[in-house]
């Protein structure tokens, strides 16, 4: 193993200017953000950046030698794609370090209109193999690809070994059914999906029902879960609901869990991952600060200690506290079967 593998960039989420500052202040190398519309996949009321806050955030990060990425990671919807084009133009004008794109039509536009702009391929592009990534590089000069959370660590290595494109993987955050870029589940309940509207369970369709016994979560009238007294709640997304299937009620698709790769950081560094991404632009500055600080410490320790590295209980505790579902897994990275 080469002793001097560079540490992967720590890429942290920002849904607001204070969250961006919290990420930078707590050790993020890079912060990613979105604009206040459906061009990004965290299109929530009151979240994200306008021109003023984006400029201030970029200035704050650049003064401290950190990078800012702009996520334009939904698919331009027929009828009016000008919003997506404007978002790309705005990103180039703001001077972001890269634009994260999912839609290959938008990659073509960005490459043609802004030949100097660095482009990343979003997880929403759903590129799980090096042929897809290399094609995007050939066609649009994509410099980095974010891998969907479906590959084992061996498979991630296989991709890295066969491409010159930098590879970014998810390191921490809420998990869902993990068919990124292909998930239409919420549209069956609400008519809106992450790719089309940039939101999975649009808040306007969510109702919390406070009964005497349980807290009910309804999405457009459909009961998707009931939390008993003292039971942890989760995000009201269809994939994490409990449903009655042949007389039995259980998590029929996915249990609310968070991904946490801390224990495999040495291997992640070793196979040459370029960046580790933290999920959660919808979360508060408090979450961003806590997660960034913890992963910064862990990543630095993993770089120093390599195979002697072990996860400190305090790190696990800090991350468990903020995790959805209060349980953490290695997700697909650690799947013994092939």
């Amino acid at each position: 193993m080469p002793a001097t593998r560079p540490l992967p960039e720590l890429v942290c989420p920002a849904g607001s200017l204070p969250a961006l500052k919290a990420a930078v202040d707590n050790g993020a190398d890079t912060v990613y953000l979105g604009l206040k519309n459906d061009t990004n996949a965290r299109n929530f009321a009151g979240l994200n950046f306008d021109d003023r806050t984006a400029r201030e955030g970029i200035r704050y990060a650049h003064q401290r030698d950190r990078k800012v990425l702009l996520a334009i990671n939904t698919y331009a919807q027929g009828g009016d794609i000008s919003r997506w084009h404007r978002a790309i133009d705005e990103g180039a004008d703001l001077g972001v370090d890269a634009i994260i794109l999912a839609d290959i039509g938008l990659m073509e536009y960005a490459r043609r209109r802004h030949p100097e702009q660095r482009l990343h391929m979003s997880v929403q592009s759903s590129a799980t193999n090096y042929e897809a990534i290399n094609l995007a590089q050939e066609l649009f000069d994509i410099r980095r690809a974010v891998l969907p959370r479906v590959l084992t660590l061996d498979q991630v290595k296989q991709v890295i070994d066969h491409t010159k494109v930098e590879i970014e993987v998810f390191g921490f955050g809420s998990l869902c059914v993990m068919v990124e870029g292909r998930c239409l589940l919420s549209s069956y309940a609400t008519g809106e999906s992450p790719n089309s509207h940039g939101v999975c369970s649009p808040a306007k369709f969510v109702r919390w029902e406070h009964g005497t016994q349980a807290l009910g979560a309804r999405l457009n009238g459909i009961l998707i879960d009931e939390y008993q007294q003292g039971e942890a709640a989760g995000y009201p997304t269809l994939c994490k609901g409990r449903f009655e299937v042949e007389g039995d009620t259980y998590y029929a698709l996915e249990e609310p869990t968070s991904l946490n790769v801390m224990s495999m950081l040495p291997q992640i560094i070793d196979i040459g991952v370029a960046a580790i991404k933290v999920e959660g632009r919808q979360r508060s500055p408090a979450y961003v600060a806590q997660v960034t600080r913890t992963l910064r410490e862990a990543l630095d320790a993993a770089g120093r200690e390599a195979q002697r590295f072990s996860v400190k209980p305090a790190w696990t505790q800090a991350l468990s506290k903020v995790a959805e579902g209060q349980q953490q897994t290695l997700g697909a990275y650690n799947r013994p079967w092939k």
């Binding site: 607001s16 200017l17 204070p18 969510v206 406070h210 003292g230 942890a232 508060s284 961003v288 806590q290």
Partner: protein
């Protein structure tokens, strides 16, 4: 500054519950209006206008009702059901405001109760998250 795990004792709560909620409510509303006036609270009033809010401090037995119009916040009286009610203990509200604790975490742990219009709740949560306290004297109390 860490907020201790603390629930107000029941006698304090019952005492506070008997006191009129007008003074604390007035204080809340004038603070919001001051923050708005000084552009510390980056609020788009069109999203809040015409809506009624209630902050329910569970352990203090205190219900602070207020509403918004296109220009400012006002105290609201009467028993009309609010469009959005946020309930938590005093310590948890303090943790949330000082960014020691993430509202989603409190919600997952059932310590923050959101009732009414979920989207309005998200607007309010994101509004509080977007306040940049670094430009104010309160910054030194903030955890993040």
């Amino acid at each position: 500054m860490r907020i201790p795990e603390l629930t107000l004792p029941a006698p304090v709560a019952s005492l506070l519950g008997w006191l009129p909620s007008t003074p604390p409510c007035w204080a809340l509303v004038s603070t919001l209006n001051q923050l708005k006036k000084r552009a510390i609270l980056p609020v788009d009033m069109s999203l809040l206008a015409g809506r009624r809010f209630e902050v329910h401090v569970l352990d203090a037995g205190l219900r602070l009702g207020f509403c918004a119009d296109e220009d400012s916040f006002h105290t609201a009286s009467g028993s009309e059901e609010p469009d959005l009610r946020l309930s938590a203990t005093l310590a948890d509200f303090a943790r949330m405001m000082l960014r020691e604790e993430d509202p989603d975490t409190l919600f997952f742990n059932r310590k923050l109760i959101i009732e009414g219009d979920t989207e309005l709740g998200l607007i309010v949560k994101n509004l509080l998250d977007s306040v940049d306290w670094s430009s104010t004297p309160l910054q030194r109390f903030m955890a993040a």
